[in-house]
Symmetry: C2
Subunit: 445 residues, 2 copies
């Protein structure tokens, strides 16, 4: 059945976060038709399918043993850039940085910018509803995907959504598929909304703060004043020192970390009013790029000094940021470990980085951090997703915030679309449901 | 079971578009708990439920015979305006205009602006994923609802989504419920994203065009130049004359209609370059408000001169606008009727208004118009929804563009969440599915 499709056997891989991928075979389809044949083969032979973009997922989405790994890398064409309808149509393996290079040439861009943008595939980022620094202003992939072509578990090819800004064509299935982590089908084509490159001058400010509380109050005031930043980031004192050591960043180490914010020129004066008495620098152009790049390399600087590091990804309401970071610091003290914080502070998305050589202990600490998000009305994942790593805390969150019935509906949707149980099975919602059934007593709150 | 709940019997209503509502009883719940009791009663007694906001739906969403009409008007509180987390939490019957008045006082606003904003309820607009003139820049309710509390058909109360900008908490069910036209549950609480009031000066231009082709080319060039308008509207020559007759609008009748566009000041020069040689006026402040208001009253002016008028609502890709309007004009000629066009031309959303005293003929013409949208890669509804009126053409669209399997999945989701078949049954997706099964031969393309 797989004649003519490029296949590899006996090859193992590891994803970006170190999860093991041990497929029975790796298939490299060159066309949607080949994808259909692979799906039919897997279904007929009851072999799980895991779809591979660029391997940059962080929560075990790709982990498998004995699966068919469908590596999409041969499907990497930019099919159409439409300058009137403002969309781009691509195959899933298109690299996100390359996409923006091509769009920029025509005066457009695609806003969501996951930290892995230079590595990741558009298909992977769609399956993960990926976010990034620009999330505070532009949201995530969820806000920018218009339509998909998908090979369903039953082998049928469908188009989900339409490349239209307004469309009331039945229930919105599009958002079910965006962020579904490869559990509902294989994406073979993607329409993304694009917009003209920003026209206004913007400034990037690096503000030194004395402590987390000051950073938190600053973002509260920015929001209350109605300032909508392009990005609003916070790195704590440990991150500042790591950046100085690893990249000679030349940052001031005397305080409690740094706040990085970009605003369009007409917000600048309002922002400066809020910064009275603080230590800061204003930059633009190349200098601003340098600061953006320092922030972008924060996790790399931390990782260079750690044997093992678990990048966390919780979200809390912006108004609960101070509480959240303080509680993270308490956990750090309690376990006597290092857990430097990098935060998309503008949208409440925190990345505490657990630096610890003991994976079992790290997972335990991680779950304690996730509980902070749940208790403060947040979410256990803002942009990295659930995979296998966060399934338990996802179940806890859904039961605490939404009702067990919501988890049941999610499981029902998985069963409706994948009754064969072949599409990246036993992860994400399915695993969360299974764990909640086992432990219902202890998970219910 | 309904003791203590305010009930009316034997009252009939008509919605905004003239569809008949003949409920067995009308219930006016004052709390979520009362909604739960009504749903349980309906389920136990196998009586369909129709949820009523302000009755402004346009495609027969509320039509019923012997149903329980759940009129939400007693649940109309604005519960919380959060100036840090940038959301507002409301009960479903809050009037949309009133909401914006309250938000404006605190320096915020909620962008989507359906033409019925002064009448409609937030709950109804959420169930309809309503759009409006600002759609070209801000999208629809789909882009602005963060979370919902919903009473499901099984009587369980759940929260769907979270009031967070980033959240990867399982499959995205939120967008299933937004735009589900009351078929999946009763909304009892809504979190909407809000943003600061626009800070930049903007200009509104009224541009006279010679014909549709000129209007279309103008919007193509605006898009190609990367101008993102606040609104971009077109009214044809018939609408211009009706506005002059009914409202003494003082518009120039010599051409082929008018193009109305608002842009922020830094786009103005680019726009003026495109308008060289054309007849136009530039306004701001009160004068701009006057033009906005003339546009807003276009449908009212048309209706004042018609006995019966069917407001259509198709969308086409912006690049196909000229083709679409030309084909609408051909249908007008073919049937020798009047079908003036009001268009949210910036996002491809057209409202041809079928003026005709024969409802059966009007529905036939309407379906011919809908086919234009299907053939040009658009959608049979941009913002008004499907109800009963558009179920047949919805089925045609989904089968032509997306695959019959997509309609099957939608039907499967309805059955999953409402196995009792009580929540606004036999409309929308369910009716589309039924019609497609009956006529599969003729609908398949």
């Amino acid at each position: 059945m797989l004649e003519g499709i490029e296949i590899e056997e006996g090859k193992e891989r590891e994803d970006f976060a170190g999860f093991k991928i041990k497929p029975k075979i790796i298939a490299y389809p060159k066309s949607e038709d080949e994808v259909v044949r692979i799906v039919n083969y897997a279904r007929d032979n009851k072999i799980p399918i895991v779809t591979y973009g660029a391997g940059t997922s962080l929560a075990g989405h790709l982990q498998c043993e004995g699966c068919i790994l469908v590596d999409m890398k041969r499907m990497d064409k930019i099919l159409e850039i439409n300058e009137i309808d403002w969309y781009v149509r691509v195959q899933p393996a298109v690299n996100l940085e390359r996409l923006n290079v091509e769009l920029n040439k025509k005066g457009f861009f695609f806003p969501p910018d996951p930290a892995s943008y230079f590595l990741c595939s558009v298909g992977g980022a769609t399956a993960n509803a990926s976010g990034g620094m620009r999330g505070v202003k532009y949201g995530t992939f969820r806000d920018w995907v218009l339509a998909l072509r998908v090979v369903l578990p039953n082998g049928k090819v469908v188009k989900i959504g339409e490349p239209l800004r307004k469309n009331r064509g039945g229930y919105d299935l599009l958002h079910l598929f965006v962020g579904s982590e490869g559990t509902l089908g294989i994406i073979t084509e993607i329409w993304l909304r694009i917009i003209p490159l920003p026209q206004r001058k913007s400034y990037t400010l690096l503000v030194y703060v004395n402590d987390v509380e000051e950073a938190g109050k600053l973002i509260f005031n920015i929001r209350k004043k109605g300032i909508l930043p392009e990005i609003a980031e916070y790195i704590d004192d440990q991150v500042v020192r790591a950046l100085n050591r690893q990249l000679n960043a030349g940052l001031d180490e005397s305080g409690g970390g740094a706040f990085i914010i970009s605003v369009e020129e007409d917000y600048l004066q309002k922002l400066l009013d809020l910064l009275a008495g603080k230590k800061y620098i204003i930059t633009e152009g190349d200098e601003a790029e340098k600061i953006y790049s320092i922030r972008a390399q924060s996790a790399i600087a931390l990782k260079a000094e750690a044997k093992l590091m678990y990048v966390e990804d919780i979200v809390v309401p912006v108004s609960r940021l101070i509480d959240a970071i303080k509680r993270i610091k308490e956990i750090e003290k309690k376990y006597n470990i290092r857990m430097p914080v990098i935060a998309h502070i503008g949208d409440g998305n925190l990345h505490p980085n657990i630096i610890l050589d003991d994976p079992v202990k790290a997972q335990e600490i991680f779950e304690e951090v996730a509980k902070i998000a749940i208790e403060l009305g947040g979410s256990v994942s803002g942009e990295h997703g659930i995979g296998v790593q966060k399934a338990k805390v996802l179940a806890e969150q859904l039961i605490a915030h939404n009702g067990k019935e919501v988890l049941k509906i999610m499981k029902g949707i998985k069963d409706l679309i994948d009754p064969y149980h072949i599409m990246n099975p036993d992860k994400f919602v399915e695993l969360a449901y299974k764990l909640s059934e086992k432990n219902e007593g202890s998970i219910s709150r």
